[in-house]
C-alpha cells in the first residue's frame, strides 16, 4: 500500500485540539482555579456512581438471591439501599423506582413520555432513541413490531406490558436470566446485562450463544 502523506488535516487538527484542551487545563491549574484532581472527580461520578453498572448489579443479585428479588419487586428502594450501592441510587432519582419482572408470560417495556424520568443512577445516560417521540408513539401502538426491530422475537403467547415512567415512578425491567448461566457469579452475570435489557427492548443473551 502506498503511503500518502500529503493530507494531514485530521492528524494536525487532532494534535491541535488535544493541545488546546491541555493548555487550558494547565493554565487553570496554574492559576489555582482547578486542581489536578478536579476533572477526575467529575468524571469519576459518571464512571462509578451513576451508570448502568448499578442496574446490572441489582439484576444479577436478583437472579441469584430469591429473597432479594422478592424484596426488590415489592419495594425497590428498600432492597437497593440494603446492598451498598451509592447514596445517589436511593436519593433524588432513585427515590420512586419500581421494578417489573420479565417472565415467560409477560414482557415489560419502559417508555417515558416526559423527558426527565429516566432512572439514570441505575441505567446510565439514555440512548438517543429513548426520547424520540416516534419511538414512544410506536412502542405504545405496536410494541411487538418495535421489539422485532430491536431483534427481540417473543412467542405469540407472551403478553407485552408497557410502563410509562413519570416524575412519580421510574420503572425498570428485571430481565429474564438467560439459559446456560447456572453457576455463574454475580459479577459474571452483571457483565451480561445491558441498559437496553433493563428497558425491555433487548433480552439478555445466553453466554453460550455469543
Amino acid at each position: 500500500m502506498t503511503k500518502y502523506d500529503g493530507f494531514n488535516y485530521d492528524r494536525d487538527r487532532e494534535i491541535y485540539s488535544a493541545a488546546r484542551v491541555r493548555a487550558l487545563e494547565s493554565l487553570l491549574i496554574e492559576k489555582g482555579i482547578i486542581s489536578g484532581e478536579t476533572v477526575d472527580k467529575v468524571l469519576n461520578y459518571f464512571e462509578t456512581e451513576m451508570g448502568p453498572f448499578n442496574g446490572a448489579k441489582i439484576v444479577a443479585k436478583a437472579w441469584t438471591d430469591p429473597k432479594f428479588k422478592a424484596q426488590l419487586l415489592k419495594d425497590c428502594n428498600a432492597a437497593v439501599s440494603n446492598i451498598g450501592l451509592p447514596v445517589g441510587m436511593s436519593g433524588a432519582e432513585g427515590e420512586h423506582m419500581k421494578v417489573v419482572e420479565n417472565t415467560a408470560e409477560v414482557h415489560n417495556i419502559v417508555i417515558c413520555t416526559l423527558c426527565s424520568c429516566y432512572p439514570w443512577p441505575t441505567l446510565g445516560l439514555p440512548p438517543y432513541w429513548f426520547k424520540d417521540p416516534t419511538f414512544r408513539a410506536r412502542a405504545a401502538r405496536e410494541p411487538r413490531a418495535v421489539l422485532t426491530e430491536f431483534g427481540v422475537d417473543l412467542p405469540a403467547e407472551t403478553t407485552i406490558s408497557l410502563w410509562d415512567s413519570s416524575a412519580q415512578i421510574r420503572w425498570f425491567v428485571l430481565p429474564k436470566r438467560p439459559e446456560g448461566t447456572e453457576g455463574m457469579s454475580e459479577e459474571e452475570l452483571a457483565a451480561l446485562v445491558t441498559p437496553e435489557a433493563m428497558m425491555g427492548v433487548a433480552l439478555v443473551p445466553s453466554p453460550s450463544a455469543a
Binding site: 487538527r13 487532532e14 494534535i15 491541535y16 485540539s17 488535544a18 493541545a19 488546546r20 484542551v21 491541555r22 493548555a23 487550558l24 487545563e25 494547565s26 493554565l27 487553570l28 492559576k31 482555579i33 482547578i34 478536579t38 476533572v39 477526575d40 472527580k41 467529575v42 468524571l43 461520578y45 459518571f46 464512571e47 451513576m50 451508570g51 448502568p52 445517589g88 436519593g91 433524588a92 432519582e93 427515590e95 423527558c115 426527565s116 439514570w120 443512577p121 441505567l123 446510565g124 445516560l125 439514555p126 440512548p127 438517543y128 426520547k131 445491558t194 441498559p195
Partner: protein
Amino acid sequence: MQLKFEHFAATSLMGSEESPPRNNGELKFARDWEGLAFGMALALAKKGHYEWEDFRQELIASIDEWESKHDRDDPSWDYYQRWQIALERLAIESELIDEAELEKRTAEIINCKHDEK
C-alpha cells in the same frame, strides 16, 4: 431533595443536538482530551465560575456555527471539537484566562510534543 450537579448538568444536555456521544448508557470519550474537556466544563460551572446554562448556550452556538458551514452528514463533524471551542470561549469571556496566554501555551505544548519525537 438535592440533585447532584453532575447529574443535573448531564440531564440538561440530553434529548437534543447538544447531547454528548454515549455508548451503552455511559459517556463515550474516543480520546483522552474529550473527557478532560467534558470534566473541565462541568467542574468550572460547579465551582461557580459560570452558569451551566451559559456553557450550554455557548455549546449550542458553537454547534450552530459548524452547521451553518457544513452538511449535517459531513464526516468532519466532531462533537468534542465543538465542545472544546465553546469551553475556551467561555473561559475567556469569564476572564479565567486570556486568549493570548492560551495561544502561547498551546504552541508550547505542540512544540514540546514535536520535540519528543
